[in-house]
């Protein structure tokens, strides 16, 4: 851990050779590096990391600036795209932009690269106004900010409804070295605009990969943003996903997280409601096995009155896997008439699996409706028996029940192709053929 930290700190000089160091952005980077130097990597001693230890993945000797290792053929990676519909694509291979696989645009909207946005004067006002403005100062976010250089840059102007979804995909390919990548995304959605984003991290190698991602999303008045995170990575790949969403009045933002793959996955999802009549939706399905670990760490900060938030996280844990749900809802003194709802349901399939849940409420206003529910239990034996009586084999019966269990999350997925893709992934994951599309 210390070794990796030292390596990261000393590599900063090399990093600086590559970028423009005479910019405001670079001042932010340098400050973030100092912050990371002070804080170091998170340990289990921190309350926020009580149930997730990164020790096992931080002992790897990661390469910090991997060169593009292996050529990637479209045919090989096509399956990782939502390919049956037309989409914009921003694709990175080992942290570097891949023009060949991507499909960007500057036609009314900007779907392009952070490196370009940092470099070109035309984007300077946007960068100045938004970059690193909602991300917090914690250890891993600071680390990402210090090395912020590449990622997706999306800017949707007023009243534009983006006609097709945008996919952001990060591939890792290095076969001979372990790699650490730190993508940095900035998404600005202006008044009354609408965009759908699909995000995915995929390792194409069996080597260890650590992705420390930071995504900042600004949702202006009456805008709508839907984000779908598909986490079905290789078993040697780990992910720390830090997403910060700043919402203005009457906006709606939703994030659906589907966690099926990967070694250690940590999702830090933060919503800040700076306005009235905002709706925030946080949903997730986690189905893991083996020694996988998925940690959902959510925060919804209700700052102003008349807002809503809905959280619904379902988890199915098999073998020795561990799951964490840490949901926090803060209702500030001013945020009267808040309606905050949080639900977390878990099924443990194996005796060796573990679930740690910590649904928290911090409420400072009196005229609010806040509730949270958390359950840990088993599939209904009677329902299973009923199906077996009617000729549905036990395995399929269980699969159906688990589907029904996760369906409340799938229901609100707005892109049919994403829904059917997730349905297939779940069927694969549960190893059943349910014989119909949901």
């Amino acid at each position: 851990m210390e070794l990796l930290k030292d390596k990261i700190l000393s590599s900063y000089v090399a990093f600086e050779n590559d970028i423009n160091i005479n910019s405001d952005v670079h001042d932010i980077r340098t400050e973030a590096l100092e912050n990371f130097e002070k804080l170091g990597f998170p340990t289990k001693k921190l309350e926020a990391w009580k149930y997730t230890s990164l020790n096992s993945i931080l002992k790897e000797d990661y390469s910090i600036f991997p060169n593009k290792c292996t050529a990637v053929e479209l045919a090989d990676v096509k399956k990782y795209f939502i390919h049956d519909i037309d989409t914009y694509k921003v694709v990175f291979i080992d942290g570097k932009y891949s023009p060949f696989l991507s499909e960007t645009t500057h036609d009314t909207i900007d779907v392009c690269l952070m490196s370009a946005a940092f470099a070109k004067p035309k984007y300077k006002p946007v960068i100045e106004k938004y970059f690193n403005k909602v991300a917090n100062q914690d250890n891993l976010t600071s680390l990402n900010t210090a090395f912020a250089k590449e990622g997706a840059y999306i800017h949707i102007p007023r009243n534009v409804e983006v006609e097709k979804p945008i996919q952001i995909i990060n591939f890792s390919t290095c076969a001979d070295i372990t790699t650490m990548v730190q993508p940095r995304n900035l998404i600005v959605v202006e008044e009354n605009a609408h965009v759908q984003i699909i995000e995915r991290h995929q390792s194409l190698t069996s080597n260890a990969v650590l992705s420390n991602v930071v995504t900042e999303i600004f949702v202006d008045k009456s805008a709508t943003v839907d984000v779908y995170k598909i986490q079905n990575d290789d078993i040697n790949a780990s992910l720390v996903d830090n997403t910060y969403i700043n919402q203005k009045s009457n906006s709606v933002a939703s994030v659906h997280t589907f966690s099926f793959g990967g070694n250690i996955t940590r999702n830090n999802l933060n919503f800040y409601q700076n306005g009235e009549h905002i709706d925030s939706i946080l949903k997730g399905v986690t189905i893991i096995e083996g020694k996988q670990h998925v940690d959902h760490h959510t925060l919804v900060d209700h700052i102003e009155p008349n807002c809503e938030s809905h959280q619904d996280y379902k988890g199915i844990y098999d073998e020795r896997s561990t799951g964490v749900f840490n949901g926090k809802v803060i209702v500030n003194k001013e945020a009267q008439k808040t309606n905050a709802y949080q639900q977390n349901n878990n099924v443990l399939v194996s005796d060796k699996a573990t679930i740690n849940a910590k649904p928290q409420l911090e409420i400072f206003a009196d005229d609010v409706k806040c509730s949270h529910g958390c359950t840990i239990g088993q599939l209904d034996d009677d329902a299973l028996f009923y199906m077996q009586q009617r000729g549905i084999p036990q395995k399929e019966g269980k699969g159906l029940l688990m589907f029904a269990f996760a369906n409340t999350v799938l229901e609100s997925v707005k892109i049919p192709e994403v829904k059917s893709r997730i349905t297939k992934l779940i069927a694969e994951k549960l190893n059943v053929n349910i014989g119909f599309d949901l």
Binding site: L348, P359, L361, E362, I363, C374, G377
Partner: protein, 482 residues
């Protein structure tokens, strides 16, 4: 012996007075402020404790020295300076008053509201009472009945002298000296407390209460309680008192240990009403308590608490469900008003098979107070068929206070069934309106609604306690509605 005359009585009274005077002389000796090994040794010597006890205390002190004060709780307060506290001082002799007329009228008013009898009022307000005071004889009868059943109930300092084998065997087994900062401090310097032992198969015929323990004196700020219920026994234990406790000690760090052996049941009820500080948040007691119970096979421990006092409360009565089929329960009402802060809850550690736990927590915050529920439900991998139900409800009055929930749920067994739910609400205007319409004024209506909100917990209190606790809730929230 000659006939007992009035002169004799007069003489006796005089002698008694003298006795007191004599004791006062000795006890006025207070240790200098500060804490070190010598002070711990001196406390132990003062209590005439055996060597093992002194060593036990010293060990705790050495551990404590290396510990730092915890700051994870959701409370803010100036950290006490532990070298500024005198760790041994004799109970202060309060001035005896001649009649109730001399007592602070505010206090009397409160007594009246609580429905405390005149005799009790006198006792609580430290008014001299007739020589034939009921409680003395009651206490004697109590002692006799308990003695017949073989129940031991006495101050822990006496128990160390009279039943060293029992104390030595059980003290510190549930809350080890190294457990936490305040438990270690308590272990090193505890002044007194209660010890209770219920023999095999005995059902304690009455509610044991610190209130009736003779020779109580001032239990001081570091109270230590140990309750051992042997196989198949039952005891209900009451701690505290609804009457307001005016105490100048700022810091209270008590430790309570309960041991319920096979098939035993312990019911432990607390009403805490220490000085909460004034309306502006000045003064008030810091109440940092470690309470824990151990359940063997088929045993049951039930904690019930009504917390209305103290400026800062930091308290988590817990159950370790070690034996199969054991049951843990936690029922709590925590009321905070003005600038009070409470961080309270429970821990249910399921180790045995078929263990069950229930948590019902009701938090009521008013004024500028902060009220937190912090609880842990842990199901270990061998705890087959464990069952937990938790419910945390918060009631907010006004928008200057806060209600917080921090439940921790850790499950390592697939057969576990856990349910947790929490809600936050306020008193509905339509509810108030409904009451007003029917001629119930707002203050009374609120009391009514709060009582309904707390019913599930109040029901768990022993009868006489429940009535007083209900009134206590009303008083605590007085003037909180504007």
């Amino acid at each position: 012996m000659s006939k007992y005359t009035e002169d004799d009585l007069e003489l006796e009274l005089k002698t008694k007075e003298y006795e007191y005077g004599f004791y006062t002389d000795i006890e006025s000796e207070t240790f200098a402020k500060g804490l070190n090994e010598d002070v711990v040794r001196a406390i132990s010597k003062k209590k005439n404790e055996p060597e093992w006890m002194t060593e036990w205390r010293l060990e705790a002190f050495r551990v404590w020295e290396k510990m730092t004060e915890p700051d994870w709780a959701n409370v803010k307060y100036p950290k006490p300076n532990f070298q500024e506290i005198a760790y041994y001082s004799a109970p202060k002799k309060k001035p005896k008053l001649n009649s109730l007329d001399e007592v602070d009228p505010d206090l009397l008013e409160t007594f009246k509201k609580l429905g405390i009898s005149i005799d009790e009022q006198k006792k609580l307000a430290n008014v001299a009472v007739d020589i034939v005071m009921d409680s003395v004889s009651v206490a004697t009868t109590f002692k006799k009945t308990l003695g017949e059943k073989g129940i031991i109930f006495m101050p822990i300092s006496e128990a160390i002298q009279e039943h060293p084998e029992l104390v030595k065997k059980y003290l510190g087994t549930v809350v080890p000296t190294t457990d936490n900062f305040y438990a270690a401090l308590n272990s090193a310097v505890f002044s007194d407390g209660s010890f209770c032992y219920i023999p095999k198969g005995v059902k304690c015929p009455m509610e044991l209460s610190t209130y009736f323990r003779i020779n109580e004196g001032g239990t001081g700020q570091f109270e230590r309680t140990l309750v051992v219920a042997d196989k198949g026994s039952y005891v209900s234990y009451l701690e505290g008192c609804t009457a307001p406790q005016r105490d100048e000690n700022q810091l209270h760090a008590a430790v309570v240990e309960l041991i319920a052996m096979d098939d035993a049941e312990i019911k432990y009820s607390t009403v805490q009403n220490w000085f909460p500080g004034d309306e502006n948040g000045k003064g008030g007691v810091f109440n940092f308590v470690t309470k824990r119970g151990l359940c063997e096979t088929n045993a049951k421990i039930s904690w019930t608490q009504v917390e209305t006092g103290s400026a800062v409360t930091w308290k988590y009565p817990s159950c370790i469900l070690k034996g199969n089929n054991s049951v843990g329960e936690f029922y709590s009402i925590a009321v905070t008003n003005h600038y009070q802060q409470a961080d309270t809850g429970t821990k249910m550690i399921h180790l045995g098979k078929n263990t069950k736990s229930t948590i019902i927590s009701k938090g009521i915050s008013a004024g500028k107070s902060q009220n937190s529920y912090r609880g842990l439900v842990q199901i270990n991998s061998r705890a087959e068929n464990a069952r937990n139900f938790s419910q945390c409800d918060s009631l907010l009055m006004g928008n200057a206070c806060g209600a917080h929930t921090f439940p921790y749920i850790e499950v390592k067994n697939k057969s576990a069934q856990i349910e947790h739910e929490a809600t936050t609400s306020k008193i509905g205007e339509d509810q108030l309106f409904y009451c007003n319409q029917r001629g119930i004024d707002t203050e009374k209506a609120i009391a009514l609604i709060v009582n309904g909100f707390s019913k599930e917990v109040l029901n768990k209190l022993p009868m006489e306690f429940a009535v007083e606790a209900q009134k206590l809730l009303e008083i605590s929230l007085e003037g909180s509605v504007g």
